[in-house]
């Protein structure tokens, strides 16, 4: 098995290297990368089959010891259990589909090879992340997927907005990563190991250990570690308040929005928390924190989807909101439900993004929904698949999203943790909002008046097969995957060895489960389904039958609309406080410290004239030496003052 796993990881890397570094042609670039990821997918599916159906062993081995410093070992190793196997299949499958789709989407782009190289590199990094058996490799994968994500957000680097978005993603993720790194450091400090198995084996030892960060206050070590790790997840999985980078990341090409910013990378945080379930289970405080953050994200990011006019941004806010749902599931100790939603979401959200991309291709890269409408008759395949994706997203009974979302809501309902009631109502109302913005987008794009200009209309047609084929391939699991897997994932023993839930937190009891139809029938009597229906109805009323009304509502509630368009002011606050503040400090140091004292007189005159040279330098030179020498004397005086006389 070891060689199979190695091949799974390295096949995409080889593809990326060939496409990126050897200056190959377009055809070669997409052939090698698709082949690489294809191999990876096929082997992942095989490994999944072996592990789940053929009763294979969990693979947990260290393959290479990189360095040993004291008793800390830095290693590369794989842990492949049911959780990992599931992630591997999802990641490689979606990635493979996106590779095909890219052939059509990026057809005319000069950076074709570079793009393929990046997405294959991404697949490699993501696999390293999910297959890791230790924190160091996890962090490597974590940073590597981040790096590729920044590179891809800034893929069209000639656009100012893309560069800005890229910088923003980088900076916001630094905050998260800092927490994550501190969390790993804390684990190293207390557990003296970076290996998952070794750490999890000792959790009971440190269950009640406390530490003092500010002297005098005892903190539970577990809570501190879990919250720090979760801060990392907040950055990567875009939870409030570190969510600001995700909507802007839509500046990148659509295929990567589907792959990275919807299906895989942003769910790394969810995966990580589920993987760390033995730690999180020990800290009630941390779980409550997770729960509340998730609930806020799920509800309030959904609102923002209502006022967006850019088709990709609507999907982006929907992604934020759905990530909030997954986080809520984690916070309610329903890790399995979180991962379940992660999987179904990966399929239908990738589908929605690729569908949006298909519309964007047909509209000649126009993304404003106000200039679309009535597209259903021009592009039937996209229309049908987008309908399937939307139904799955709002949780139409029987579709994939229905099962996972319902499971989360049920789990939160039954959780009795601080913040659980708030979370329950947040996710419940979120269902209504989800249906409303999803079908608002759907109706605006595919139905109603045709608002595009004549030239665009005459060119409207379904894109080529490389674009539609992945849509169909993703539509199939978007319908069926939920019903097929719910029993095994939630009520069965699938995650038995991978996720740890203390019995009193466990809500999913096999005895309560009466088959897929039983689940559906039970749900029909519950609020979520009716709320989703209400959302759909409202959307229909507002955007199909009484199309004047939304404008009037907007005028009436101008203040509310303003807040939503302003995205609750997060961006402005960040810009003012963090960006402005650090720019202020920087320019102060630069102008006062460097420009005035040092640069002011220095020979940076390659651009200046010779006259300026001799004049200013001669004049400034004495001043400079005074200053330099003086600063040395001053430093001496200070050191003497501090250390001799103190």
């Amino acid at each position: 098995m070891q060689n199979i796993y190695l091949t799974i990881v390295f096949a995409p890397l080889v593809g990326a290297v060939i496409a990126g570094l050897f200056g190959v042609g377009r055809r070669v670039a997409h052939t090698v990368t698709i082949a690489g990821v294809g191999i990876s997918f096929a082997l992942s599916a095989y490994a999944f089959y072996k592990l789940v159906f053929a009763g294979g062993e969990v693979f947990n081995e260290t393959l290479y010891t990189w360095a040993v410093a004291g008793n800390v070992k830095l290693e590369v190793g794989f842990l492949v259990d049911s959780l990992t196997a599931l992630m591997m299949v999802v990641v490689t499958f979606v990635s493979w589909m996106v590779h095909f789709y890219t052939i059509g989407y990026m057809r005319d782009d000069p950076g074709y090879q570079r793009f393929f190289s990046y997405i294959s590199l991404f697949t490699f990094s993501m696999l390293m992340l999910v297959m890791s058996n230790n924190f160091l490799q996890l962090f490597f994968g974590w940073e590597a997927v981040g790096l590729v994500s920044y590179l891809l957000i800034g893929f069209w680097f000639t656009r100012e907005t893309a560069i800005y978005a890229n910088l923003k993603a980088f900076l916001v993720n630094r905050v998260g990563d800092f927490g994550f790194l501190l969390g790993i450091a804390a684990i190293l400090m207390f557990f003296d190991s970076l290996n998952y198995t070794e750490v999890f084996a000792q959790v009971d030892v440190h269950k009640d250990t406390t530490m003092q960060i500010i002297s005098g206050y005892d903190w539970s070590v577990m809570t501190v570690i879990c919250i720090l790790l979760f801060i990392g997840a907040m950055g990567k999985s875009a939870q409030v308040p570190l969510h600001v980078w995700l909507p802007d990341s839509m500046e990148g090409p659509t295929p990567i929005s589907a792959l990275i910013h919807a299906a895989t990378m942003v769910t790394a945080g969810i995966f990580m928390v589920a993987r760390m379930s033995p730690l999180f289970e020990l800290s009630e405080v941390a779980l409550s924190f997770v729960l509340v953050i998730g609930a806020i994200t799920a509800l309030f990011m959904g609102f923002l989807g209502l006022v967006q006019n850019d088709i990709k941004r609507v999907v982006a806010y929907s992604t934020l909101s759905q990530l909030g749902y997954m986080t809520v599931a984690l916070g309610a100790s329903a890790y399995a439900a979180g991962i379940f939603h992660l999987m179904t979401h990966a399929f239908f959200k990738a589908l929605l993004f690729l569908g949006a991309g298909s519309v964007i291709i047909a509209m000649h890269h126009e993304q404003d929904m106000r200039k679309m409408g009535g597209l259903w008759k021009y592009m039937p395949i996209t229309y049908i698949t987008a309908l399937i994706g939307s139904l799955a997203l709002i949780g139409f009974p029987g579709f994939a999203g229905f099962f996972s979302k319902d499971a989360i809501i049920e789990a939160v309902h039954h959780a009795d943790r601080a913040g659980a009631t708030f979370a329950y109502y947040a996710v419940l109302f979120g269902v209504f909002i989800t249906a409303l913005y999803s079908f608002r987008m759907f109706f605006l794009v595919f139905h109603g008046k045709e608002r595009m200009d004549e030239h665009t209309r005459s060119h409207l047609h379904e894109p080529s097969a490389v674009v539609t084929w992945p849509l169909i391939m993703l539509a199939i699991p978007s319908v069926f995957i939920g019903g097929l897997t719910i029993e095994a994932l939630l009520y069965g023993e699938y995650f038995q060895n991978a996720i740890f839930v203390t019995p009193e937190h466990n809500f999913f009891n096999p005895a309560d489960y009466h088959g897929v139809w039983g689940f559906v029938v039970h749900a029909l009597g519950q609020p979520p389904v009716w709320l989703a229906g209400a959302g759909f109805g409202t959307a229909y009323y507002l955007y199909m039958s009484n199309t004047e009304l939304p404008g009037r509502i907007k005028d009436k509630l101008e203040w509310l609309h303003g807040i939503l368009v302003d995205k609750y002011g997060f961006d402005r606050f960040n810009e003012w406080f963090f960006a402005g503040g650090s720019r202020g400090i920087g320019s102060f140091l630069w102008q006062q410290g460097d420009a005035k004292i040092i640069d002011g007189g220095l020979v940076n005159g390659s651009a200046k004239t010779v006259n300026w040279f001799s004049g200013v330098i001669r004049h400034m030179q004495t001043g400079l030496l005074y200053h330099y020498a003086f600063s040395m004397i001053l430093g001496l005086a200070l050191l003497l003052g501090i250390f001799v006389l103190w």
Partner: protein
């Protein structure tokens, strides 16, 4: 003086004799045979390196009335110094030739500076440390000033000289204070008598402050760093390369000899001073580097921040910490060598690749060099699996081990801030359109050397235990 003692001094003796010989030969060489000077110098360095390697000591031995010491740490540092100077000369040759000051003095003064460094590394007496330092400094001043037609070089030399003289004076004052208190210049005797002088603690610390200031100047730690950016930027790049790499190893040795060997008894005092210097250096170095547009100046501030990190290991005042610092200084020297080597490679007569914008679109012009530069920048940033990561990792680990968690957090914070300006160069190389489109003029030896340098940084990062073992064994920890 016995023959055995002479044997221990063999590297220094060979270097001195050869440097003098080359000086004479060079005076009679016609200009078109100037390459001979270069070849002889490189040959000398190889020879000296071999001699150091073959006489690698297993334990500490004193010679010449306790003024000269050979120990594993010293021999290791000497080997690296000689090797780095070898690379420096290699990188400088075509740069000097293109600019018409391919003069023998560059190499002879370089050899004398190397001699000064070797003397500093194995000095065991304050007088000898001081003389070694002066030999090194004087050669460096002259090398900076060598490009006589360049006003900036002359100015840089002037500043370096004056400030260096002040620093030497301060160091000397500190040494004479200690001499006055203890009546000895020998480090062993100093160390012994310090332990009997506890009641005069204040006066001893007074002398210590002066010595620390002198050392801080040599290393370029804040607030004694003012010369660094100006001298780095003003000097011809080949000289900047020289100043920024090997002498830092010698300065590290000087710190070890004076503070650890000589004044280990006062470690609780110099520990606090170094903490202060280190935090200031990391802060000023990393923050000010962000606003630089000149890459030499940026690397100067980057050096200042690296010095801050380097001090972190020393200030733990235990052997593992010293080993971590030694690992750091060696890694730093290798990285900075590569960085300036890259500047030299991209420059040609009439065009100095000094501005950060000159790196725009390097990937399109030559993707291999862009890749090497990428390795170097990532390494300076401290990204795994590059060498620089291990350097930062090991000093931070030692800090945590000795219970200074807060300082470790501060260090990591500044390392994160520092990532920004290295990333900017990576950004320019890969995502901007080239402004400069002329082909890169390089020579074969240069190309091979820079590539080897970059790959060494990557390779040692993948196998950090090789270098780490060397550093640990230098402090007999393995």
């Amino acid at each position: 003086m016995t023959l055995i003692e002479l044997n221990m001094l063999m590297p220094e003796i060979i270097l001195l004799s050869m440097a003098s010989l080359i000086l004479i030969i060079d005076a009679f060489l016609p200009d078109d045979l100037r390459d001979l000077t270069y070849q002889l110098s490189q040959g000398t360095l190889i020879g000296v390196g071999l001699v150091i390697f073959s006489t690698y000591p297993q334990q500490t031995e004193l010679a010449l009335h306790g003024m000269f010491v050979t120990d594993p740490m010293g021999a290791t540092l000497k080997l690296f110094i000689v090797g780095i100077v070898f690379f420096t000369f290699l990188y400088s040759r075509s740069y000097l030739k293109e600019r018409n000051f391919f003069k023998g003095e560059y190499f002879t003064l370089g050899l004398f500076a190397t001699l000064g460094m070797l003397i500093m590394v194995s000095a065991h007496n304050m007088l000898v440390i001081y003389l070694g330092l002066e030999l090194l400094s004087l050669s460096l001043y002259a090398m900076v000033a060598m490009h006589r037609d360049s006003q900036s070089a002359t100015e840089a030399a002037m500043k370096y000289f004056v400030l260096g003289a002040i620093a030497s004076g301060i160091l000397l004052y500190g040494m004479s204070m200690l001499y006055g208190m203890t009546g000895t210049l020998d480090l062993n005797e100093l160390s012994q008598s310090l332990s009997t002088l506890d009641e005069y603690h204040t006066a001893l610390v007074f002398g210590l402050v002066f010595i620390v200031v002198g050392l801080a100047f040599k290393l370029g730690a804040v607030p004694f760093h003012m010369w660094v950016p100006d001298v780095y930027q003003g000097s011809p790049t080949s000289v900047t390369l020289f100043i920024s790499s090997a002498p830092k190893l010698a300065a590290f040795a000087m710190v070890m000899r004076l503070l650890v060997d000589g004044m280990g008894h006062l470690h609780s005092d110099w520990q606090d001073m170094l903490i202060l210097l280190s935090i200031l250096s990391m802060a000023i170095g990393n923050i000010v580097a962000i606003s630089q547009t000149n890459i030499k100046r940026m690397l100067a501030y980057s050096t200042i921040s690296h010095v801050g990190f380097l001090l972190l290991g020393i200030l733990t005042a235990d052997k593992a910490g010293y080993a971590a610092s030694m690992f750091y200084v060696v890694s730093y020297a290798l990285m900075t060598l590569g960085g300036f080597g890259m500047i030299l490679l991209l420059s040609r007569a009439g065009f100095e690749a000094e501005n950060i914008s000159d790196y725009k679109g390097l990937n399109e012009r030559n993707s291999w060099f862009a890749f090497i530069m990428l390795i170097l920048m990532l390494s300076m940033m401290g990204v795994p699996p590059m060498l620089g990561f291990w350097a930062k990792f090991s000093v931070v680990m030692q800090l945590i081990n000795s219970g200074m968690l807060w300082l470790a957090i501060v260090a990591v914070l500044f390392a994160v801030i520092g990532a920004f300006y290295y990333l900017r160069i990576i950004w320019m190389m890969y995502f901007e359109k080239p402004e400069e489109t002329a082909p890169i003029e390089d020579t074969m030896d240069m190309r091979v050397a820079v590539s080897a340098n970059g790959l060494l940084v990557l390779g040692l990062g993948l196998m950090p235990h090789t270098l780490m073992t060397i550093c640990l064994s230098a402090f007999s920890l393995v």
